[in-house]
């Protein structure tokens, strides 16, 4: 064998040998209808594991791959230039070109999630509002969703994208100023239904259909949110910065919003009752779900009562181990307070001046008797046991506080109460009366409207007496709007406002006190009605749990309706964050 031939043979053998590891490394995954998914080479498996790329050859988008290949190593530069172009197109209102550019960007960087999220938001929220025709607006909302659907093709099982689709379908369509038109368009948009239909998200299933038998945006959105939850639960996909509490609450909130929406559209019958019942069940399921927290422990919102009972039992046991110690410690601490502090504590909390308030808080903190202090003074024989119990108690009490804090963030008690109340015959009847009265009011039938309104207020009075927490939230907002119409009616009829036997005076008093809402008159100075539902019939503790996050006046983000609604042209990130501070 001459040298030249030998060299060639060595080269060929070398190439063939190198092909072996190459195949091992880069063999693509394939899909066989008979045998299912074949994992492919090492790189393919790594891509699959890290959800970096399309699962198999059949899912590879030639445009995306082609563009990336053609640009050699310059795709980041190209994406940067296209990003600038996209902003320019948005500025000069060339939305067709913008849409095409966004597709190019996504083709270049298909696994960069922020691009999909940011630009989908741009399409659905910022660009849609630039159009005057509501049909065009709806069309661009859809374009944002379609953009996300394309993103999901490239990023399988990515909960954030699945969640965002659910959010847009539910919140953007269901909460926009054009929600009446959007919901109507959505119900009849069969082509769009086909686009958003998936194996686990069957748009044609009873779970997705509204009272008219057509897909409802809240319920379809819920299915997408549930799918996002499924991916997190079964595949352990990361939430990427999204709060688990808010993430898992959204699907349940969709059923609540659905029930509210259909009532607003006039379905005030057993369909609404069923919707509320379903919402209540969903909300309870959400309460039973284990939620990871930023403290590194999991909790269940529905555990609050059980944990409370356990805390009480343990406190009793501690008191038995160290009898009389708690009172003794309290008296000692009280004796150590300055005369000013003691004086402040004698002033009722509501009457304290701002300076006194601060002093009072400090004094109360000084008076707090800690479990370990009690254990420390336990008799020698049981001190070790008491110390252990005190440690457990502190841990348990902390767990209870955390659950309560989380419940406050999602307004758990309010929505639970609301779901329970709304499915009652009284509530349905009360709402129907207001709805019918409003319709008569619009037709200027004042006499008839007045009668229906007054009947409605009586029903609402009963509900509010039973569930005083409802006076403080969105239910009250809706009622106050109707009461304003009622006021116009009675003034048109020459009667004085408020009528002497008005059953919702207490509601107006609470509104005036909490929100300084005196649009219907200043009721803030009115003393609370005695026995007027101060002790709720359903066992809720409105003083603790029904009260919104910050005590006297709820923060804007704590109002359920507001926290679910992103600003028209802002990213929804702020409203996704829990209102409170997660870290202790």
């Amino acid at each position: 064998m001459n040298a030249s031939l030998r060299r060639k043979v060595i080269y060929i053998v070398g190439i063939m040998l190198l092909l072996v590891p190459l195949v091992q490394l880069s063999r693509p995954a394939t899909y066989d209808p008979q045998q299912g998914q074949k994992p492919g080479g090492v790189l393919s498996q790594l891509r699959y594991e890290h959800r970096l790329s399309q699962a198999n050859l059949g899912q590879v988008d030639p445009a995306s791959e082609g563009m990336r290949l053609a640009l050699l190593g310059f795709r980041a530069l190209a994406a940067h230039l296209l990003w600038g172009k996209a902003f320019h197109y948005k500025k000069v209102e060339d939305y067709d070109a913008l849409s095409a550019t966004l597709n190019q960007i996504a083709n270049l960087q298909p696994n960069f999630l922020s691009v999909w999220e940011f630009q989908a938001h741009n399409l659905s929220y910022n660009i849609s509002v630039e159009f005057d025709d509501y049909r065009s607006r709806y069309h661009w909302v859809k374009k944002g969703v379609e953009y996300l659907l394309k993103g999901i093709q490239f990023n399988r099982d990515e909960p954030k994208l699945l969640w965002t689709v659910g959010w847009y379908l539910s919140q953007k369509i269901g909460r926009a100023d054009e929600k009446v038109a959007f919901r109507r368009l959505f119900r009849d948009d069969r082509d769009f239904h086909a686009e958003i239909d998936r194996p686990y998200i069957e748009v044609d299933s009873p779970d997705a259909k509204g009272p008219d038998g057509k897909p409802d945006n809240w319920l379809v959105g819920r299915l997408w949110l549930v799918e996002a939850q499924r991916v997190v639960d079964t595949l352990g996909a990361p939430l990427r910065g999204k709060s688990p509490l808010i993430f898992h609450s959204n699907a349940a909130m969709c059923t609540i919003n659905y029930a509210t929406a259909i009532e607003g559209e006039g379905y005030l019958d057993e369909k609404a009752q069923y919707a509320w019942r379903r919402a209540g069940e969903e909300w309870t399921r959400f309460g039973d779900r284990q939620i990871p927290t930023s403290w590194g422990v999991n909790l269940r919102l529905n555990d609050v009562a059980r944990v409370e009972t356990e805390v009480q039992e343990m406190e009793q046991r501690l008191a038995a181990l160290a009898p009389g110690v708690q009172d003794e410690l309290y008296q000692e601490k009280l004796a150590k307070l300055s005369p000013e502090e003691r004086q402040v504590l004698e002033v009722p909390e509501a009457e304290r001046t701002p300076q006194q308030y601060g002093l009072g808080v400090e004094a109360e903190a000084k008076l707090e008797v800690r479990y370990r202090e009690i254990a420390q003074r336990a008799p020698d024989a049981v001190r070790v046991e008491a110390r252990q119990l005190a440690r457990d108690l502190e841990e348990k009490a902390e767990h209870r506080r955390r659950i309560e804090r989380y419940r406050t963030i999602v307004n758990y008690n309010y929505w639970k109460t609301r779901c329970d109340v709304e499915q009652t015959d009284t509530a349905i009847r009360a709402r129907r009366l207001v709805f019918e009265a409003d319709q008569l009011w619009e037709k200027n039938a004042s006499f008839e409207a007045k009668d229906l309104y007054e009947e409605a207020w009586r029903e609402w009075g009963k509900i509010m007496d039973q569930h005083p927490s409802l006076r403080e939230d969105v239910t009250a907002d809706e009622l106050v709007a109707a009461i304003k119409r009622y006021r116009v009616v009675i003034e048109q009829l020459g009667e004085t406002w408020p009528p002497p036997d008005f059953p919702l005076v207490e509601l107006l008093r609470v509104r005036a006190q909490l929100y300084a809402d005196t649009s219907l008159g200043d009721f803030s100075k009115l003393p609370p009605a005695s026995g007027d539902g101060e002790k709720p019939a359903d066992g809720d503790k409105p003083a603790d749990n029904d009260k919104p996050a910050d005590g006297d006046k709820p923060a804007e983000g704590d109002k359920p309706a507001e926290s679910d609604k992103p600003a028209e042209s802002d990213k929804p990130t702020d409203s996704d964050k829990p209102a409170g501070n997660e870290r202790p």
Binding site: M67, V92, E93, D94, D96, A97, Q104, D133
Partner: protein, 621 residues
Amino acid sequence: MVLEDDYFLTFMQWLLPGRQGIGALGWFMIWVPIVALLGLLVGFVRATLHYTARDGLASGILEGFFAVARTIDTAVKDLSQTSARRTFAMARLAVQESLRRLVLVVFAVFLLFVLFAGWFLDVNSDNPARLYMGFVLGMNNMLLLLLALVLSTFSLPSDIRNRTIYTVVTKPVRPSEIILGRVLGFSFVGTVFVVVMCLISYVFVTRGLNHEHGVDPTTVTRQTVDGASVVSGQTTEDLRHVHTFTLRDGQGRTDIAHGHWHEVEQVGEGENATFVVGPPRDTLQARIADYGRLRFLGRTGKERATAYNVGKEWSYRSYVEGGTKSAAIWRFRGITPERYPEGLPLELNLRVFRTHKGDVEKGIVGLLKLRHPDPAVNTESETFTFTAQEFQIDNLFIDRNLRAQKSDGTLKPIDLFEDLVDKTDGSVEVIVQCAEPAQYFGMAEGDVYLRARDGSFFWNFVKGHVAIWLQMVLVVSFGVMFSTFLSGIVAMVATLATVVLGHTVDFVTELATGEVPGGGALESSVRIVRQMNVSAEIDANVGTQLLQGTDLVGSNVVRFMTFLVPNYKELSRTIAENGPLVNGFDIFNTLLARQCLTTFVFVGVVVLISYFFLKTREIAA
């Protein structure tokens, strides 16, 4: 479509001093002496330095002066005695050389792009015509400029390096003929490419957008309205869209979807009737539009240059306030019964801005009327109402038989041409207002026009490729010029720099005037390293001031250079995404003429400069 002010200039308005400052001719008269003087100065300094090294400073200056004078003298002779025969022979050589350089590779790349274009085009686009056009025009432009760049810059340097230039210069060929021959030869190759690409692209666009719909029988509903049979339904899906249609007595059309519509005809009667859907209409158009001059009235009825700004970053459109005297008034000229025998085919492309949502399901109502331009005549038509359609062209035909309101409030019949058109210049005013208080209409001069007729789309497409051709010729000229004194690769980079500079004139101007946030090159680099965004305040210290000062000088030097290179962006405006061709409007012939003149002047000057460069280069040495 975005039409800047200067789009409406006639050729003479653009050329001569007047409406546009000193006009193109004025700029030419300023810049040619500057460039000539600059050239003479550089030549003189170079010659002086050369002779000073040999004979001392005094002799050097004198020799330098004579060398420049000699060169000018020779140049006059060379240029006046340039032979067309020899020039064409050189051009033929350039063509042969191009073919040897595998220019067909560019053609293969073009075919590859066209074949796989479908992958890159957004199938869900609302306006596929724009997308297709934007794609082919952008691709053709890029490929042709690339071709011109490679062909023109490597030829002379490689001839010089391989010494094949000796075989040429030892023949009785003048430098002017070498330069001209190369420019003509490479331009010829480019021209053949432009023609072929234009034809293939035309077929690609027309075939790509052509499609056929059927009718989905499950959607067809029939009813009788006022004694006429009315059939409604939906077409089948094709190219990812469906249309709805309504037929009266068997004839009708679909709605507009994806920027086009179809005629639909019913064949047969009753339940057995079938439907024939025609080819797509208005997909590829070349609307020939008559534009008017626009002025505005403020809310008190007082005239003003622009109406109101509603807070948009882009100030192209000005907004008139609804429910007030605020109005946009267009004055159209040359309106004659011969051109518009039936009336005025107005088309509107307005924007709406709502300060409150109002009824979200109802559009904003506008008012439109025609008025005699002479206030003394004081005649205006009755007011028409319309609902504004955004982001699509709204057709409004104004019949010549109109009515006007008399002083007692009754209406009297009037004739458009007799009563409203000023006979002296055939002008008439169209007044547009927004009817609803606290709502606004946004308008620019090109947003309301008369659709005079439809031109040929093919010829419009060809006109678009003329713009590409002009750019190609310019790149060839600059490439040849740089290759006379630079090596191939450096000449290519230099030519590319002129193209980039010519495409980024606006940016460079904004950079030099400090309008670009984040500062110039050095300041931006510091920001990148320090991870500061463009709006963050940078520390005010000596170092920063030094950087900013250097940036200011640098960017102004670059800005000065933009005056010396062709404005490629200006040359591409007819084929830009927001330009007339892509948006279905006929390209103004005057605009094309302006671009041709600009290009040929540039080519002439560049060829002259190239001659001097080649002449002064000591090839034989």
